[in-house]
């Protein structure tokens, strides 16, 4: 992409201060210069036409971030990231907001097609009756097209990009943004607060059951752009929403940083189901390249009888550092975490969950299935904490690891903290390989070894797959098979 290089060169020659007054470009990608400074943050904020208070919020976070140190406790190993070598803003050109798919840049559509994103608008137009999925597609940080918006509006559901929401619903943003993951939370969450460029915002009002599954397909496209997504989902009293997040990334040589923050808020009797399929570029056969995925995801069961459920299928990324958590604040609230983490090649995964029991009669369930192959390392790190006043809390945790090959590692690091006698906490973990008996049983029915392993692995992860929405379950099963290719023999 010669044009991009041209921009970079141009940008290098311009004094950064000029960006405050607007940055206009006619080439395909609209990009802030490399590096991180207050000016870049002002630039992003201006680009997003954000109100002053939002800029202040970002700058506060940035000041805080400058005083923080990169965490080193996770079992992952990577060269130090130079945060001044990254781009913090890149937006595709067509910003006028197309009203139909025809108006969307055909280049973009072609990429989506390759990725298999089911933009089902066409089907709906053709009168196809199917379970509908609303897609807020994110192409390098900016929402390009949002479908089904009108139908959602009818139900009173707000589903838009977070930048739009900051402009259109500042009162909701002010109330909820950073209320689950505060700007001071951790190194990457703080960085995200300072520089996040886009993400999704969902608001389901009182008593509304969201009429369809909401879905955002994230995609990292530009070279060296850190993706800093910010997602905020609020389910008011008695509301229900299921949100799907799926990711793919094209092959890249250089490591790309992805530090997203996802915040979920469930009020009384509300339920949020958040599902992720993550298949970013894991690096090549030598372990070169691949995405760094340092994500902070947290749900707050703020209301009584609320429920938050995380389901994730992690097959991609060179390094994953991710602990979707639930704060069980409301009485009788429930948190769930279902995870499949597949690592192959030189991938490193350090993932798990936190269940913080604060309210009475709260319950949580953790099912984690780790599969390591190749030379990868796969760590489950989870915390279950029963606080002093959390009467009758319940937790069940099961984390199983499967090893394929003798060069990989599988690790389990649970932290269990109980301060209330009425709690009942159970944790179990196992690590083993696929037994020869199982393999023999399948193979003697004429199934080749690699398929036999895929079959057994799919059985191993069944408990989690069945928690996924239908569309994802099929995709996830395929993904696991693909991820383990070449791990046998």
């Amino acid at each position: 992409m010669a044009a991009v290089q041209e921009t970079i060169d141009q940008v290098r020659q311009i004094d950064v201060d000029q960006y405050k007054y607007g940055f206009e470009t006619i080439i395909e990608v609209d990009k802030a210069p490399k590096g991180l400074s207050e000016d870049i943050i002002r630039f992003i904020s201006a680009k997003k036409q954000e109100p002053e208070w939002m800029l202040e919020w970002r700058l506060d976070a940035y000041q805080r971030w400058l005083t923080m140190e990169e965490p080193t406790w996770a079992r992952v190993d990577y060269p130090k990231i130079d945060f001044n070598e990254l781009y913090y803003y890149a937006a595709p050109k067509n910003m006028t907001g197309p009203s139909s798919l025809e108006e969307v840049d055909p280049e973009l559509l072609r990429v989506y097609e390759k990725l298999g994103i089911p933009l089902q608008e066409q089907e709906m137009l053709a009168g196809v009756q199917k379970p509908r999925v609303a897609v807020d597609a994110v192409f390098d940080s900016v929402s390009v097209v949002t479908t089904f918006k009108k139908e959602l509006q009818k139900a009173g559901v707000i589903f838009m990009s977070i930048s739009e929401a900051i402009r259109e619903h500042p009162e909701l943003i002010k109330q909820y943004l950073g209320s689950v993951v505060p700007t001071t939370d951790n190194y990457y969450a703080t960085l995200n607060a300072a520089v996040f460029t886009d993400g999704s915002f969902v608001f389901v009002p009182k008593g509304v059951r969201c009429p369809m599954e909401l879905s955002t397909y994230f995609r990292i496209n530009e070279k060296n752009t850190g993706q800093f997504e910010r997602t905020l989902i609020i389910a008011e009293e008695g509301a229900y929403v299921s949100y799907l997040e799926g990711c793919t990334a094209p092959q890249r040589d250089e490591n790309q940083l992805h530090a997203a923050v996802v915040e979920l808020v469930a009020l009384d009797d509300a339920e949020i189901k958040y599902s992720t399929v993550q298949n970013w570029y894991p690096g090549d056969a030598q372990g070169k390249g691949g995405i760094y995925n340092f994500v902070t995801k947290r749900g707050d069961c703020r209301g009584h009888r609320s429920k938050i459920s995380w389901t994730q299928v992690e097959t991609g990324s060179a390094i994953t550092w991710k602990y979707p958590s639930c704060i069980l604040r409301g009485d009788d609230s429930r948190g769930e975490f279902y995870s499949i983490a597949v690592s192959n090649g030189y991938q490193q995964i350090d993932s798990g969950t936190k269940m913080i029991h604060l309210g009475k009669n709260t319950s949580s369930r953790i099912i984690s299935k780790g599969i390591s192959a190749g030379r990868s390392n796969n760590t489950y790190r989870g915390q279950v904490s029963i606080h002093r006043r959390a009467e009758n809390a319940r937790n069940f945790t099961n984390c199983d690891s499967l090893l394929i090959g003798d060069k990989c590692g599988a690790h389990t690091v649970p932290y269990i903290e109980v301060k209330n006698a009425s709690a009942q906490v159970e944790h179990e973990a196992t690590t083993s390989k696929i037994s020869d008996d199982q393999k023999f049983y399948v193979m003697q029915r004429g199934i080749p070894e690699e398929e036999a392993i895929a079959l057994i692995v799919n059985g191993f992860v069944k408990d989690v797959i069945q928690e996924l929405p239908m569309e994802f379950a099929v995709e996830a099963q395929k993904l696991i098979g693909i991820s383990l290719e070449g791990s046998v023999g």
Partner: protein, 425 residues
């Protein structure tokens, strides 16, 4: 935290440094021993005791929790040995850290550990195991005595050997290197007990070496006073086809850290580890296991049962590490806790770190109150609630002790447990 910034020593750290400075001329050993002692103490002086930021001390912030380091007594208190835990046991007394060099046990080589400090052979063993080994550092710099014991190859010592460590106020730092010769068999009871009830700091390291085919039983019974600090460590090295049954019972102390650092280095070897933590009062008791399966074809099972009363805090950290190539490892760990009070707490961190694929490893952890169904079952048979509770708690912990098999030992330990429970329930 920047490691180059000199730290401000806490009163406890200062007290440890002062203890060393006051005793340095008087501590047994010179040359390499002194160099090692100096280095270990200097580590404490420059980096301080570990805080919760150090992963191995996540739930026991020693820097904050260790408040009371009593000054060592000018003269050792006069203490007398008590009856052994089991009848017929041969007692090796350790009275306020002082051993009786004249004690001998038939068929067993017994010497004072101070001798090996003086002649320098103990120097290498004094080093800390790693940079977070605070117990190794404290003990290594301040240790005065203990017993060096060798069970000759091929011999069987029938009667249990009791290391009877009694202490008064002040500080005691002891060490017990014990070698089980090839094919030998013996049972040890390591007993730590307060004789006066006054506050004391005790650090003690047992260095167990199992040679080929040796079979050992090692029981630790820690019954220190309610004001005491106990920093215990057991280091074990397994030879080929050797077996160890290790029982750890904590039933006392205010601040207790019991580290079990076990290396399974011999093929075909087997570890059976059982533990009971009886936690009451204001105690903070931490049992930390680091178990390395370093060679193929080894087995281990670990079961811990904990009971929490009053305002007690308990910690169990259990790390099982399976090295690359340590195929056919079979390691299973369980940690079950009865949390009987809302003022107490228990934290568990069972860890698996696995680098070999042909293994079966697992761990389980539970924390709960007494099962109401069990209680109901007993009550429906006319047993009053408090008695039914006592029975259930007793059964919960006694179960693991029964695996000792030796009738006398089981009976003696059950006696200790029942007596403790009666006092606290």
């Amino acid at each position: 935290m920047n490691i180059h910034t000199p730290i401000r020593l806490t009163p406890a750290e200062t007290a440890l440094v002062e203890t060393y400075t006051a005793q340095v001329g008087d501590l047994p050993g010179d040359g390499a021993v002194t160099v090692t002692r100096d280095r270990l103490l200097n580590d404490i002086k420059t980096s301080g005791l570990p805080t919760r930021r150090v992963e191995a001390w996540h739930y026991t912030d020693l820097r904050t929790l260790l408040r009371n380091v009593p000054a060592p007594l000018a003269a050792a208190p006069s203490l007398a040995t008590i009856a052994p835990l089991v009848e017929g046991a041969q007692v090796l007394p350790v009275l306020h850290g002082a051993v009786d060099a004249a004690t001998s046990i038939d068929g067993v080589e017994v010497a004072s550990f101070a001798d090996s400090l003086v002649n320098g052979t103990a120097a290498a063993g004094l080093a800390a195991l790693d940079k977070d080994d605070a117990i190794g550092k404290i003990n290594g710099s301040l240790v005065r005595d203990g017993y060096s014991i060798a069970i000759p190859a091929g011999s069987t010592v029938e009667a249990p050997i009791e290391l009877q460590a009694l202490h008064g106020a002040g500080q005691v730092h002891t060490r017990f290197p014990v070698t089980f010769g090839a094919g030998s068999r013996a049972t040890f009871i390591e007993r730590h007990r307060s004789a006066t009830g006054e506050a004391a700091l005790v650090s003690s390291i047992s260095d167990i070496m199992l040679e080929e085919g040796a079979e050992a039983v090692w029981i630790i019974l820690q019954e220190q006073g309610a004001e005491d600090t106990h920093l215990g460590q057991v280091r074990v090295k397994f030879g080929t086809d050797s077996k160890l049954r290790l029982f750890v019972i904590n039933a006392g102390g205010k601040l207790v850290r019991q580290e079990l650092r076990i290396d399974v280095d011999g093929e075909g070897s087997e570890l059976t580890l059982r533990g009971v933590n009886l936690l009451g009062g204001e105690t903070h008791t931490d049992v930390t296991l680091v178990l390395g399966h370093n060679v193929p074809n080894t087995n281990s099972t670990e079961i811990f049962r904990n009971v929490v009363f009053d305002r007690a805090r308990g910690v169990f950290q259990g790390m099982i590490r399976v090295a690359p190539d340590a195929q056919k490892t079979d390691a299973k760990m369980a940690c079950n806790t009865l949390l009987l009070t809302d003022d107490g707490e228990f934290s568990v961190k069972p860890e698996l770190e696995i680098f070999a694929d042909d293994v079966i490893c697992g761990h389980g952890a539970t924390v709960s109150d007494i099962d109401n169904n069990h209680l109901y079952y007993l009550q429906s048979r006319g047993i009053p609630e408090n008695k039914a509770r006592a029975m259930l708690v007793n059964a919960f912990v006694a179960e693991v002790v029964e695996e000792l098999e030796d009738e006398k030992l089981v009976e003696a330990l059950e006696g200790v447990i029942s007596a403790w429970l009666e006092k606290h329930a």
